[in-house]
Amino acid sequence: MQLQQGARLPDGWVESAPAPSASPWQPFVRFLYKTLVIAELELRKLRHDPTELFTRAIQPAIWLLLFGQVFAQARGIPTRGLRYLDFMVPGILAQSVLFIAIFYGIAIIWERDLGIVQKFLVSPTPRAALVLGKALSAGLRALSQALIIYVLALFLGVKMNWAPRALLGVGTMVILGAAGFSTFSLIVACVVKTRERFMGIGQVLTMPLFFASNAIYPISIMPHWLQVFSHLNPLTYEVDAFRALMVAGGSSEFGLPLDFAVLVGLTTLLVALGARLYPTIAR
């Protein structure tokens, strides 16, 4: 098949390719810009139809209002000096972030079935920017959950830490957690490729990640084998950071630098892997 065109461009032609710039930062700036465009797209979608944000609020509300109220009566859980509800609120935030992120792959498969993914892949956008843009938008969605959980916590009388640095830390961790787990979800979607298979796998992944973490009980009360698994579970480090930053008097078990390092490392690794796999979903 010959698709060679003559050297002469037709009349009325506008060359749109931007002139290459001398700055060594140019590729990096371009990459960041494209990432933000993808995130902008997702935000615009959300602005047109924000109902999702409210329906998403139901699950954490149920956990805090039903499960939390009952378990607050149990005295056997070592919570390092916190009331049980205060102990649980950071865990529920991590859970909401995880649930939002882990089913992100469904949207990817949906977009593939429609041909949207294909169209993005044919545009001159770095693959990693497509993946990171999606991850970032999952993070922004998850931020809205954080807002809802702060409101719920206030309502339940949980003493929150309002220091700006703490809030900033929580926000950053919400975005990191959602970005990491949503990219994980994207990778799963690229492997399984159909919605039916994904739904099954999504369920299988979420529950162990959640229960084998320190979200609603400390690791110390787990059987030994589960403790090992929990220490390998990135959600544990996310919860640990929330626990140190969200509630008044909270403290970190592993140290904030380790918590953030785990999540940054995980997200970077997954985005790199996702960028390699993302084009395969369109084939």
Binding site: M1, Q2, L3, Q4, Q5, G6, L9, P10, D11, G12, W13, V14, E15, S16, A17, P18, R30, Y33, K34, V37, E40, L41, R44, K45, H48, D49, D113, L114, G115, I116, Q118, K119, F120, L121, V122, S123, P124, T125, P279, A282, R283
Partner: protein, 235 residues
């Protein structure tokens, strides 16, 4: 304008996916505008536009937003974005519905929006995978009218697949007929009809002839037709 014909499963979409850098060829390569699809996929993506078979505009966004996002992804300079988007909207007859969400568009309007989206960066080759499938005759005509206008105004090469022989016959300077993953025939509609040796042969006859058993009937012709045509520019 180049029309790619062939029965279902002949490999038309696969060929388009390879040419648009979505799918690496198992062997061989191709070049578009002098750029190699395997060695320079990034550059190829700058000079092509692609409209997939299925509806691919974002239903939750407005038409204008769909165009805005793609103008950004295609690196169209900020000051040019608005005029180009306005141009594209009026060109495709979508000015009145520009700020409506795409979910409320008709099938024909969505197709025109998608073509507008894929033309914002003025590609040299535009790939359309069955652009009129599922459209009523009125919508179909309006889509083709806009594509033809686009081609005459910007000189874009249009590469499309279709099952409707009349479309290919009326619009294409060249057509290719694929069968079981191979190009069974390549030439202008008139040349291909002449091969059958009947006075009143239609493109449909040609299609049936070549999409059958290519080993028996098509091989000899393929060599001559491609040989004669390679020099000529597509479209």
């Amino acid at each position: 304008m180049f029309g790619l014909l062939g029965p279902n499963g002949a490999g038309k979409t696969t060929l388009i996916k390879m040419l648009t850098t979505l799918l690496p060829p198992t062997r061989g390569t191709a070049s578009i505008g002098g750029l190699d699809i395997l060695r320079q996929p990034g550059e190829v993506r700058r000079i092509i536009g692609y409209v997939p078979q299925l509806i691919s505009a974002d239903g939750t966004l407005t038409g204008r937003e769909n165009l805005l996002i793609f103008s950004k992804l295609h690196d169209i300079p900020r000051e040019e974005r608005k005029p180009r988007i306005d141009d594209a909207l009026s060109f495709m007859g979508l000015v009145d519905s520009a700020d409506q969400v795409v979910r409320e568009y008709s099938g024909g309007m969505i197709r025109r929006l998608e073509i507008a989206q894929s033309m914002l960066h003025r590609p040299r080759v535009l790939f359309l995978d069955e652009p009129t499938v599922g459209l009523d005759p009125v919508a179909r005509n309006s889509v083709w009218e806009h594509i033809a206008k686009l081609q005459s105004e910007f000189g874009t090469t249009i590469f499309f697949t279709t099952h409707v022989m009349e479309e290919a016959d009326a619009l294409c300077q060249r057509v290719g007929i694929m069968s079981s993953g191979k190009m069974a025939a390549l030439g202008s509609p008139a040349e291909l009809k002449a091969v059958l040796g009947k006075d009143d042969a239609t493109l449909e006859d040609v299609f049936i002839h070549f999409s059958g058993d290519i080993l028996d009937t098509g091989g000899g012709f393929r060599a001559t037709a491609t040989g004669r045509e390679t020099a000529r520019r597509l479209g």
